[in-house]
């Protein structure tokens, strides 16, 4: 019983940061039709940036502790505003007209470059940004002790999800983005500046990845290699949820969160295997994921 509660709660906590990251991946896919291999590295850059910012801030005792959170947010924003346009305008846009396979290779190349760039900038030792983690105290559930920060993370995920949903469905800019997701050529013909939508959507995707990284940084040791784990997990979430679906990403994040939590408690060496097993099972019943996009007929 205690184990079940632990898995449930750990699962929801895991699902939170997974959702934030995966929804960025699925959004970029929906708008640009690119599954960004480098998304995991962007998470890592966000984590490193936040860890550095936090280290500098708390190390110097520079102000009220809770401002550290704002700093983490700012770090994620900075990463997005620098890397988003750089990657999209600087590299990706030259390959939009090409084969799907080529785009896979291009984002893979960006992944490789970012992985080494992080090593060059931050080195190979681990970074810890534990101060923000301790700020919110502890909570107890069913005799299990949890850190308040983790529950705030759940809150962050919910707020992010809501803002995204609201932004896409209830604002004009959001509806324009939805139009581009459905058909970019017709959107262009109707006067939408598709180039700008692409740049915006990609940057938003980068921001979400970096945000996930920044706010997960206090929980983990930030070191080389977290990028690959994150891309593999977010890919599973995006596929289970359905490419391009925000609601799908939310539900799938819960699936994967629970699967991972169960694996970590019961069979830790098979953690990734369990996640992909869950994905395989979902795809067996719903080959396009939980929330499938309507697609036009081919012949």
């Amino acid at each position: 019983m205690k184990l079940a509660a632990a898995i449930l709660i750990d699962g929801v906590i895991d699902a939170s940061w997974l959702f934030i990251v995966a929804v960025g991946l699925t959004l970029v896919f929906g708008v640009l039709n690119i599954l960004n291999f480098a998304h995991g590295s962007l998470f890592a850059v966000g984590a490193y940036a936040a860890a550095s910012a936090v280290g500098w801030y708390y190390g110097g005792g520079l102000g009220p502790p809770f401002l550290g959170y704002l700093l983490m947010f700012g770090a994620a924003l900075a990463v997005a505003l620098i890397l988003g346009p750089l990657m999209e305008r600087g590299v990706l846009r030259f390959f939009y007209r090409r084969d799907e396979v080529v785009l896979v290779l291009v984002t893979y190349a960006l992944f490789l470059i970012l992985e080494d760039a992080t090593k060059l900038i931050w080195g190979t030792e681990s970074y810890y940004a534990s101060e923000p983690y301790a700020l919110l105290g502890n909570v107890s559930f069913f005799g299990l002790s949890y850190v308040g920060y983790d529950f705030a993370l759940i809150g962050l995920a919910v707020v992010t999800g809501f803002l995204l949903w609201f932004g896409l469905n209830r604002t004009i800019s959001g509806k324009i983005v939805l139009a581009v997701i459905h058909d970019r050529d017709i959107s262009r013909a109707m006067g939408v500046n598709v180039t700008r939508v692409f740049a915006f959507a990609f940057t938003l995707g980068v921001f979400l990845a970096a945000l996930g990284g920044a706010f997960t940084a206090p929980k983990i040791s930030v070191q080389p290699g977290i990028g690959i784990t994150v891309i593999l997990l977010s890919f599973a979430v995006v596929v289970i949820g359905g490419l391009g679906s925000v609601e799908g990403a939310a539900i799938a994040a819960l699936f994967v969160g629970f699967a991972r939590a169960a694996a970590i408690h019961l069979v830790p060496w098979a953690e990734l295997f369990i996640v992909y097993l869950v994905m395989a099972l979902v795809l067996a019943f719903r080959p396009e994921g939980l929330f499938q996009r309507a697609s036009a007929r081919k012949i």
């Binding site: 599954l35 291999f37 590299v91 030259f94 390959f95 090409r98 084969d99 799907e100 396979v101 080529v102 785009l103 896979v104 290779l105 291009v106 893979y108 190349a109 960006l110 992944f111 490789l112 470059i113 992985e115 080494d116 760039a117 090593k119 060059l120 190979t124 690959i228 891309i231 593999l232 890919f235 599973a236 596929v239 060496w269 098979a270 953690e271 990734l272 295997f273 992909y276 395989a280 080959p287 081919k298 012949i299």
Partner: protein, 326 residues
Amino acid sequence: MSGIFGTLAAAVIACAALALAGYAAPNWLVLIATLAFSKGLVALGIVALMRGGLVSFGQGTFYCAGAYAAGMAMRSFEINDAALLVALGAVAGLILGVIIAPLLAGYRGIFFATLTLALSMIVYGILNKTYSLGGSDGLNLHAPSFFGYRPAASENASYALFLFTSLTTVIAAAMCRIHFDSVRGLLSHAARDNEIRVEYLGASVRWINGVNFAIAAALGGIGGALSALSLGHIDPDFAFWTTSGEFVFLAILSGYVSVTAVFVAAVLVELGRSYSSQYFPNTWQGALGVFLLLIILFLPGGLGSLALRLRVSRAKPEPAPAETLK
């Protein structure tokens, strides 16, 4: 049939040329070439898959299977003959490939790429925790024998392994070339272009992809066994994503016009790696990434397409190289 005879003739010449070159070359180059050829074989498997439109980011799975099969055979069953070990590696890769192919048969593009990557990382994770196979430390192998001949001096051993690897490589490459030039080979290209039409003509795309996947798996296993013998050591890193990614890089660098280009590219990359690890250890992956972008932008047909442009005045052209990565 002249195509086949031409390929076989080229194979014989290549064997002779490599034997001579290996004899004359310094030992460090022989060692590099041996390892490069083993990796080239894995990349050749990816080329076979790419002709059908699929890119596998997880060939490390089969590379690892072949390596560990050879390693276990040597340690637990005291099999020392190189040919037998490599055959076991091939079988291990093939069996694993045949089991996995149906699971992946329905996927294309980024799905296929990421699923194969996940597979590779799953294998890595499991091997890391499997202490009976050495865990993260892996296993050590001693030098193999070659059809009874057990080389005494280490230089003789390197040359013997080089000859054996070259022979295996040339045979595998020739078989692949013949397959690529055949109807089934052309069908892979067709499947890449238009699966619907292939099915409507009466052929099965699942079967085409399955066969290509099995070929890639077997080649991966062979490459893994050869690398194991070459390095004398195997560990779970053989299945790590960086290893798998390098094979992809090799395949893109060489392109799929020329089989020879794969091995030329492999030697170049292996030379590049040893240079880089001495002077710039933390930038190898990034360098590969930059080169990958450059190749995609400026030489989408890979190195092989350069060779094609030299030949184009003489022979009938193959599918235009510019289309290969479009």
